[in-house]
Symmetry: C3
Subunit: 132 residues, 3 copies
């Protein structure tokens, strides 16, 4: 079984820091690195600054601007308008891999791991896998 | 030797699902995750929805719009106009890593692995490496 | 300890090839793949063509165009205007993972590994971790 984190997003586009959740999922684990994988198609994961919350807000607005809502999408489902959410998720990517140093994430001073919601609010899962 | 997949693209920009090919390359393999790596500079790989083929078409058009053909590129080769193909490939990324659960890709319900061609038609390779 | 590379960037936005540095960091190492991780929030790493230096220059200009300097950023620090640098870094991604073949990077013919500076000039670190 792959250990997993469950979380709840509150907005359509929302970066949510999950560094602490990933650290807890890795407690007692040995390995060279940790794979953090998002098993969804309208959400992703990235690593960036967690000191100033404005950075996460900037990501949210930038991704909505890099991929426009009004680009004439082919993927249309009743009640859903999430075509750009798929592209935004892929730009952030479905996974990050962080080296481990003595069992702890070897993140830089300003780095945190952020779940990237692009079609919320929803309940979401994140898989955390140690690699040797 | 790293196991590999060979495939043929048919259009300049084309997402091609390779989930089944990756599964076959991993048959009988044990590990914690699989690294899917593209050894080309004008193609990449991503994970996204494989239920509605329109999603792949939306990716193709969106990547051509995010990085324009007419941006005044410096990289020009006789007979080639593939400068934007390099950037599009990097935005999708050269690799994805998927956790394995009892030998099978732990993909989400709607997820498939897509080879991303940005300078086709060409014959291409994808390397599949199990990680412990 | 995770082996690391130190480098110095010279421009605000600059791709710097580090393939040789990564190969040296991996000398004598055994494994299935190498994780190359950037512990910074305004720099990333990608893999692309290293034959024509114009490709790296095209990346630099394209990333500055995909994410505009004038988008009305919320993250503002005295003396810093690096909000777009964070997004550009995430688009390139904080890590790449390359399969190893008999101890050597299994890169394609035209591929090189590039450190991506988006808030230089600065002294930067890159972590190189073998994975089994």
């Amino acid at each position: 079984m792959v250990p997993e984190i469950t979380l709840r997003s509150e907005r359509r586009t929302q970066l949510i820091e999950i560094t602490g959740d990933v650290e807890r999922a890795l407690e007692g684990v040995e390995g060279s690195a940790a794979l953090i994988f998002v098993p969804h198609t309208t959400a992703g994961v990235t690593i960036n600054e967690n000191a100033d919350p404005a950075v996460a807000r900037d990501f949210e607005r930038a991704l909505e601007r890099i991929v426009g809502n009004d680009w004439g999408w082919q993927h249309i489902e009743a009640g859903e308008e999430n075509a750009p959410s798929h592209i935004r998720s892929a730009l952030m990517s479905p996974q990050v891999i962080v080296p481990l140093n003595a069992g702890r994430l070897a993140l830089g001073t300003w780095q945190g791991i952020f779940f990237c919601e692009f079609d919320g609010p929803r309940t979401r899962r994140v898989l955390v896998t140690p690699l040797q």
